[in-house]
């Protein structure tokens, strides 16, 4: 069984390569261009709007791509899915309330196995919350926001460079596995201006469009081929439960079980390709910090501070948030006495950490939920408290 039949190829950058001083959101838009995104539909919302402003400029520069400012976030993701079936790599970007509005059609993208990228720049919630302040409260929403509980992929960048690089990766994974991919960023990373680079060459992936039923497993691959509209394939695309051809089976237990099992299995088969984590710090450690996004960058600082204080500390950073990197975390946690989740919420990531680490170590969390970016001292304080116990 091969995880994907998507083709990889190396292309010359359509944008001027070199070192840039860019905002995270700008780097994200550039990453989309590099990955081959040629359709963007979106609705303005803080703190993600710079992405749409940058991408329409880039489309004009490269004399390609189509941009639509839609009437809301629901229609934005709908247009993105439509464009993807027209054969064009497509993306939208949003934040908090807009991400909530997109959930139904993200589920539609899962059900119809439509490659697309949705950028969520997390801000403070619930509801309108604080539009300009950072948070990481969409951790579970990214995975479970759409009804039904079916899997997708979510990646989390911690720098302007990764806003670009993980956007490229998001497109490649979407094309490989015919699944919506969420770029789960946050307001700090999105608005961070820093040095980053556009390489001369980029590796991109294109969906497999060979022969076979568009919604069924192939003999050697769980990701079916994806033709596009106008190819004469007479496609039947539906958000209802369907068979391998696309015919609705709105009350067939067999087809529902088969479809749902394959949705899970195709990502499990590709686990090693999808999951990416980064470990840093001491080889032998008592304390393992677990974080993603800007919290990981703060934790990286805290790690040095703790090591300086004689507390052997390492950092486990999730670049892939979903599927949750449980094998890697379990292995890393086995060597720790204390595992500390560092996050900007009332404690979401820590629930996954607890589930995975189980009884291998003491689990606690350093939380910041007042709309301020988490600081190294927030983490150091929690570690000190845990060590005193």
């Amino acid at each position: 069984m091969v995880p994907t039949k998507a083709k990889r190829r190396v292309i010359k950058s359509p944008l001027k390569s070199g070192v840039y001083f860019r905002q995270g959101n700008e780097a994200c838009a550039d990453g989309a261009i590099l990955a081959g995104c040629r359709f963007y539909a979106g609705y303005p919302i803080t703190p993600s709007s710079e992405i749409m402003i940058r991408i329409i400029r880039r489309f004009k520069e490269i004399k390609g791509g189509n941009f639509l400012q839609m009437e809301d976030e629901i229609s934005s993701i709908a247009a993105v899915v439509g464009a993807s079936w027209a054969g064009v790599k497509s993306m939208t970007a949003t934040s908090g309330p807009g991400f909530s509005l997109m959930q139904e059609n993200i589920g539609y993208a899962i059900m119809t196995e439509t490659p697309c990228v949705v950028v969520d720049i997390q801000r403070v919630g619930p509801s309108t919350g604080q539009a300009t302040r950072p948070a990481q409260g969409d951790f579970y929403q990214a995975r479970f926001g759409s009804h039904g509980g079916f899997p997708l992929i979510a990646l989390s960048p911690w720098s302007a460079q990764e806003m670009q690089d993980l956007t490229i990766r998001a497109f490649n994974l979407a094309e490989k596995y015919r699944v919506p991919v969420i770029l789960l960023a946050d307001q700090v990373v999105a608005h961070l201006y820093e040095k980053s680079e556009i390489p001369e060459e980029i590796e991109i992936c294109d969906r497999y469009s060979g022969d076979g039923n568009p919604f069924g497993a192939m003999e050697d691959c769980l990701v079916p081929p994806m033709p596009r509209f106008g190819d004469g394939k007479k496609l039947l695309i539906t958000g209802s439960t369907h068979d391998e051809i696309g015919i609705r089976c709105a009350s067939s237990p067999v087809e529902q079980a088969k479809l749902g099992e394959r949705f899970h299995a195709k990502l499990e088969t590709a686990y090693d390709d999808i999951v990416e984590v980064e470990k840093s710090g001491e080889k032998d450690y008592d304390v393992l910090l677990v974080a993603f996004g800007i919290s990981a960058r703060t934790a990286y600082d805290a790690m040095f501070e703790l090591n300086g204080d004689g507390v052997n500390t390492a950092l486990f950073r999730l670049k892939t948030v979903w599927p949750f990197p449980e094998r890697e975390l379990k292995e890393a946690a086995e060597r720790a006495k204390y595992v500390i989740s560092c996050e900007m919420s009332h404690g979401l990531l820590v629930r996954e950490v607890e589930r995975v680490v189980c009884k291998d170590a003491v689990v606690d969390a350093a939380l910041r939920y007042d709309g301020e970016a988490i600081e190294p001292s927030d983490i150091v304080k929690v570690v000190e408290k845990v060590l005193r116990k």
Binding site: G82, G87, V88, E104, D231, I237
Partner: protein, 265 residues
């Protein structure tokens, strides 16, 4: 498998997915007539069916193209087919994009997309099967149900306390390039309107008043001294309507080509 009789004239059978039949429309439903007229219009214009995409939403009318059309179909989430279709058309302008859906789908939950697509002017043909009720979910009140009519959620004796949308005029006001309204049984008029809609560059809207015997007519039966809740007698030609008073037009359905206004008006 035994031979299934396909609806409509033989010329449209090449556009139908035979394995999806027999169809699930109720006896006497107007939606089958809309299916027939749409495909006749496509055949008469000689469109390449492989370059046509049919989007639909949720509800009885959404089944007209999906799964019955042997063509590219996009059966979307409730209310959003126009938004999906917008992405399709903009991403590949060579495709002939259609939306065929109901009044609940296009005008209630999807109302915002309808008016914005009309304003935006993306080139597509939207056929709205308006049966003035929620058929599939059990006959609930629609934003198009006439005042006073009975539905599952506007029961007797008062009936619908609200006023309905005049969809064609709404879409015309929003800036559509082509708008027409006809009754589903009027095949010739409907085929002609759909053909004009397809040929018109920009956003075309054809509202088809479609009879729903199961949910609408059954709840609003014709009494001994009243005429049926829906029928030829309710329709008034656009030109004729211009000389009628507001009171005279009460409860009537004005039909014709609203946009562009026909010569001689």
């Amino acid at each position: 498998m035994s031979e299934v009789k396909l609806p409509g004239p033989e010329r449209i059978h090449k556009f139908l997915r035979a394995e999806a039949f027999p169809h699930t429309f109720c006896l006497g439903c107007g939606h089958l007539l809309i299916m027939e007229s749409t495909l006749v219009a496509i055949d008469e214009l000689g469109l390449d069916i492989d370059k046509c995409v049919f989007a639909s939403g949720i509800g009885c009318a959404s089944w007209i193209p999906s799964p019955y059309f042997k063509a590219d179909t996009l059966h979307t989430t409730h209310g959003r087919p126009i938004a999906f279709a917008t992405g399709v058309k903009v991403a590949n302008p060579d495709l002939n994009v259609f939306v065929i859906s109901g009044d609940g789908d296009l005008a209630s939950i999807g109302g915002n997309h309808l008016i914005h697509a009309a304003r935006r002017g993306v080139d597509m043909t939207v056929i709205c099967a308006n049966n003035m009720i929620y058929g599939m979910t059990g006959g609930q009140l629609a934003s198009t149900t006439p005042h006073g009519r009975f539905t599952a959620t506007s029961p007797p004796p008062e009936g619908n306390p609200e006023k309905p949308f005049d969809l064609s005029r709404l879409v015309a006001a929003a800036g559509a390039s082509f708008v027409a309204r006809y009754f589903a049984p009027w095949k010739d008029k409907l085929v002609e309107a759909i053909k004009r809609g397809i040929k018109t560059a920009g956003f075309s809207f054809i509202e088809v008043i479609s009879q729903c015997p199961t949910q609408y007519l059954r709840r609003n039966p014709a009494g001994e001294d009243t005429k049926p809740a829906l029928g030829q007698h309710l329709f008034v030609d656009l030109k004729q309507a211009k000389s009628m008073t507001k009171e005279e037009l009460e409860g009537k359905i004005v039909y014709g080509q609203f946009v562009p206004e026909e010569e001689g008006d």
